[in-house]
């Protein structure tokens, strides 16, 4: 029963609100970096409302049910993962063993829903974007999981988010140690790719393949995808804060942690050009995997 409460209030309403606000911060910072004024604060919300009111077009020859289901699947998994994270962040009483594994799986499903939608829409550009997204998943999952292993090792091989949080409450955040810092750097690059922001926005590349897997979506389907991406813009930094920086509380330090992480992601996005898919795979399987493996080795020796 308590999960239903968390599901509606924290998992859906609060996450959507913070996600939309974060999306506005992202757009505003981007505009300021480019010496522009930028959109008003309610702009992301207005975009979503507008898209919900538009017509849904289903391309001829597309797989209709998959095309319509894909955004719902991604959106649902985003709500679910934010619920699990909030429950862990607020109280450790209702958590269970192995929720870290569940969270890692659920964080992959939004990308998979984008792939499903792209392939179902029977558009060559969408298929190209979906195949690039698939390669991107293959490239960033390995360093991401290795980086997540560091807090697991630090907290005495616990796969439970509440135990990791409890460990950090007593011994200080994971990111204060050398291995924690290395793992955090790797994880920030991985969430950049998970969010599909600029150095790794290869699947969506506006200027070469229009908007990739989302090219055929219009109206409510597109609104759900946009909302899902805005929520992920909150959920992924939130996940990193939980496992590396000791969780979010309702105080000033937490706001600094969260806004700092988001601003870092935005600045990386604004100061880099888009890489090719082969460069991205080489980047993640080469230096990033090496760094993550080094962090794991350091964590095993207790640094």
């Amino acid at each position: 029963m308590i999960y239903v409460l968390y599901f509606i209030t924290y998992g859906f309403l609060l996450t959507v609100a913070i996600g939309l606000l974060t999306s506005w911060i992202d757009r505003k910072v981007t505009a300021r970096v480019q010496y522009r004024v930028g959109p008003p604060i309610l702009q992301p919300l207005i975009d979503i409302i507008k898209l919900l009111g538009k017509e849904t077009l289903i391309p001829k020859g597309a797989s209709k049910s998959t095309f319509l289901m894909a955004p719902v699947v991604g959106f649902a998994s985003a709500i679910l993962v934010s619920t699990i994270l909030w429950v862990n962040n607020i109280t450790s009483a209702h958590t269970y063993l192995g929720d870290l594994v569940v969270v890692i799986y659920l964080l992959t499903i939004p990308s998979i829903s984008i792939i499903m939608g792209g392939f179902a829409s029977r558009n060559p550009l969408a298929s190209l974007g979906a195949s690039r997204e698939m390669k991107l998943i293959l490239s960033y999952e390995l360093p991401f999981v290795l980086a997540v292993l560091v807090p697991v090792i630090k907290s005495g091989f616990s796969l439970r988010l509440a135990t990791i949080l409890g460990y950090q409450l007593q011994n200080g955040a994971v990111a204060t140690g050398l291995s924690g810092v290395l793992a955090l750097i790797v994880a920030i690059f991985c969430i950049q790719a998970k969010l599909g922001l600029v150095p790794f926005d290869i699947p969506e590349a506006e200027t070469e393949i229009v908007s990739g897997p989302l090219v055929e979506y219009s109206g409510p389907g597109l609104a759900l995808y946009k909302l899902m991406k805005n929520m992920l813009l909150f959920i992924l930094p939130f996940f990193l804060i939980i496992i590396f920086m000791g969780g979010l509380h309702f105080d000033a330090i937490s706001i600094v942690k969260y806004v700092g992480l988001v601003a870092l992601v935005t600045v990386i996005r604004n100061t880099n050009p888009r890489v090719r898919i082969d460069q991205a795979v080489r980047f993640f399987w080469g230096p990033m995997t090496f760094l993550a493996a080094l962090a794991v080795a350091l964590a095993l020796t207790g640094r």
């Binding site: 702009q43 009111g53 849904t56 506006e206 908007s211 219009s218």
Partner: protein
């Protein structure tokens, strides 16, 4: 005015189509995105795909080859949507008025909401045109309401 239309006017995403223009109007449209004019202040974005767009900006003289594509794009655009004609060519075919290749002006092919004259129009003129478009849609809805009330 309905919430749907209100939100549409607050975040019109623009799809930009050239039906055989000399590219001057297209460059002026891109000027609107630069720091000097910054139409993102009003929530406008350039959409890459026609399925994401709310406003179709048409430049150029609608030649025989592009008319087919123009009609297809108009049909693919999710409704409710708006059409803006930018530049002399799409308004009245400009210097191509006697050309064998440009049989019809834009508003004889698809319904047009706002005309922005100029060869090419300045970015200020384009922004002023979009403001007129927003006011026109608001006024239309208001007059419909008063008609219903009567």
């Amino acid at each position: 005015m309905s919430l749907k239309l209100k939100a549409l006017l607050k975040s019109p995403w623009v799809f930009h189509l050239s039906t055989g223009s000399c590219n001057n109007c297209d460059i002026e449209i891109l000027d609107c995105l630069t720091p000097r004019f910054d139409i993102e202040r009003f929530g406008m974005l350039l959409a890459g795909s026609i399925k994401h767009a709310d406003v179709l900006l048409v430049t150029g003289s609608c030649n025989r080859q592009s008319v087919i594509r123009l009609k297809r794009l108009y049909e693919q655009m999710p409704k409710p949507c708006l059409v803006v004609a930018v530049g002399e060519c799409s308004l009245s075919r400009g210097m191509f008025i006697h050309s064998y290749n440009c049989p019809l002006p834009l508003d004889k092919i698809i319904p047009v909401d706002v005309y922005i004259p100029g060869c090419p129009p300045k970015p200020e003129a384009i922004i002023a045109g979009v403001v007129k478009l927003i006011e026109k849609v608001k006024k239309d809805k208001l007059s419909e309401k008063t008609k219903k009330a009567k």
